[in-house]
């Protein structure tokens, strides 16, 4: 029996410990490959905050599939800030009333401190000479990408291909839809997520080209070696954003608004921007972009706002049930 009592007091202690954490700590809920960026960023911010206020702050991280992560925040995971890789996920929190409706105006650059671009990863020597989106729809080319309907990675690739086709001479939405349809026919499968697509392409060696983020190429090199593949920049591609937001409900409850605001603001500081660049994310600062030019070749990009009238509209037109993806897939 005393064992049981011991256990009970243990559980109570654990609960009490969970309660006591409400001091100066900040929880940053993020997508699943954000670790490297924030692992390096957090000590920078801690130093900055200590120098400014004398306060020690504990920074906690939560990583996972981005849509799952925002769902957890909506269900009560007490995130002070969210740092995501898709506007739709932050939009979801705005709809739930956790994040300000105009969250993307609360910070500069559409609330995205850094960006990336959708690129092609091809086998060494580029045996199928894949140079641009048009090559992906050719016969005999196999394209690997995550599911366009329910992964951010897949959606970005889909929109990139669509926009490229739209911008070709005589391009129209109908033409673009037909082009994307041809491209998707070249996909032997849809991977479950970014990591899954990489494994399919690099380890199982299926396909001729992998569609992914520029920053992901670096992670792939780390695991599989640089000499194993080449990165191809198409003539036009999507500039992907990494939106950040304060979770108003949580920071007001915990009294961490000032700290959380500073944490996100600091992402735009020279130190924060350089940290992004070191982690292969394109900084917003033109100066740093120049400094790291070798790492970030010039590429013509568009944003979802430019071509599709914002993420919500793009989602509704293309990825909702009955959207363009479903139309392509039913007619396939």
């Amino acid at each position: 029996m005393s064992r049981f009592n011991q256990f009970l007091s243990g559980l109570l202690l654990a609960t009490a410990a969970t309660l006591a954490q409400a001091e100066v700590s900040l929880l940053n809920v993020s997508y699943d490959v954000a670790r490297d960026v924030y692992k390096d960023y957090n000590p920078l911010f801690q130093k900055f905050w200590k120098a400014k206020t004398g306060e020690e702050v504990t920074l906690k991280q939560s990583h996972g599939g981005s849509t799952k992560q925002v769902r957890a925040v909506a269900d009560g995971l007490e995130a002070d800030v969210v740092t995501m890789n898709q506007a739709n996920d932050v939009e979801f929190l705005a709809e739930k009333g956790l994040v300000a409706k105009d969250w993307n105006r609360k910070f500069p650059n559409n609330a995205s401190p850094y960006t990336s671009a959708m690129v092609f990863i091809v086998r060494k020597g580029n045996p199928k000479s894949i140079r641009d989106w048009g090559d992906l729809a050719k016969d005999g080319v196999q394209v690997i990408l995550p599911h366009p309907k329910n992964t951010g990675n897949g959606r970005n690739s889909y929109l990139s291909a669509w926009a490229w086709a739209l911008k070709q001479p005589g391009g129209s939405d109908q033409g673009a839809q037909a082009f994307v349809g041809r491209l998707l026919k070249n996909a032997p499968l849809f991977a479950a997520g970014g990591r899954d697509a990489t494994t399919t392409f690099m380890q199982r060696r299926i396909g001729d080209v992998l569609l992914t983020f520029e920053c992901e190429a670096e992670l792939i090199a780390r695991e599989f070696g640089k000499g194993e593949f080449e990165v191809v920049y198409p003539s036009l591609t999507l500039q992907t954003e990494f939106p950040v937001a304060l979770v108003d409900k949580v920071v007001d409850k915990k009294g961490t608004r000032k700290l959380a605001q500073a944490y996100l603001d600091y992402l735009w500081s020279p130190e924060g921007q350089e940290n992004a660049a070191r982690n292969y994310l394109r900084p917003r600062s033109a100066e740093l972009l120049k400094k790291y030019a070798a790492q970030f070749p010039a590429v013509k990009t568009f944003t979802v706002d430019d071509v599709f009238g914002g993420p919500a509209k793009a989602f509704a037109t293309h990825f909702k049930d009955g959207g363009s993806f479903d139309q392509i897939y039913v007619s396939k």
């Binding site: 490959v33 990583h63 957890a72 269900d75 009560g76 990591r195």
Partner: protein, 288 residues
Amino acid sequence: MSRRRAAQEPRWVRWSLTAIGLVFLFAFLGLPLAAVFVEALAQGWSAYVAALAEPEARAAVGLSIGIALAALPLNILFGVAAAWAVAKFDFRGKSLLVTLIDLPFAVSPVVAGLIFILLFGVNGVFGAWLTAHEIKVIFAVPGMVLATLFITFPFVARELIPLMQSQGKDEEEAAISLGASGWQMFWRVTLPNIKWGLLYGVILANARALGEFGAVSVVSGHIRGETNTLPLHVEILYNEYNQVGAFAAASVLALLALLTLVAKTVVEWRMQKEMAMLNAELPPEKTA
């Protein structure tokens, strides 16, 4: 009769059946297990040790073991109580209770996790009350213990019910008629009779608790160093292209599983030995 016939199958049948069994065992258990260790050591011992020495990895190991330990006494308590009620008493709704005990086996772990979100999440049944009293269940350790408990609940009861049923109520009744109190009867008669079965159930439940992914993933919140168990840690490292880290953590899980296997074998062996001893003692009593 049937035993002799089995032994008289042609030699090639016996051999090929054994060979098929061994090939399956090797392909589906041996190879993956070996692969875990090969991948974990792909960059040498120092990388392996460094991956495990990371504070987040150590926190994950600690949390996994802590949750399993927290679920343990509750599992024993509920399992013994449920098995006791089912095996020793007849009452209305008994078959319903037996079905309910099996429910966690039938429900997908992810659904089990979602049940807790629906109960304790901010928009859940108890969400408003919990928020008002600043009690965190979901996305904190208590919720993870609850989810683990739900998933592992049937193991102890399932192990004990047939054992208790086969033992019958005679010894307990004898104890009571000799003037033992309820507690005395439980501690001196029932518990010694079921101890090996109980231990066996606990080991199985423990193995499941350590390896549980689905239910715990839903209620964890994935806060690194705080609510990331070992299986969740493996997933996140793999997604971050940290192959060595992921497999190093997986190798710890595999080692824990192997330890469980050893413990299980020892318990089984002791159980058999005790049974054999009992049987050796029993016959004269029974004939008397």
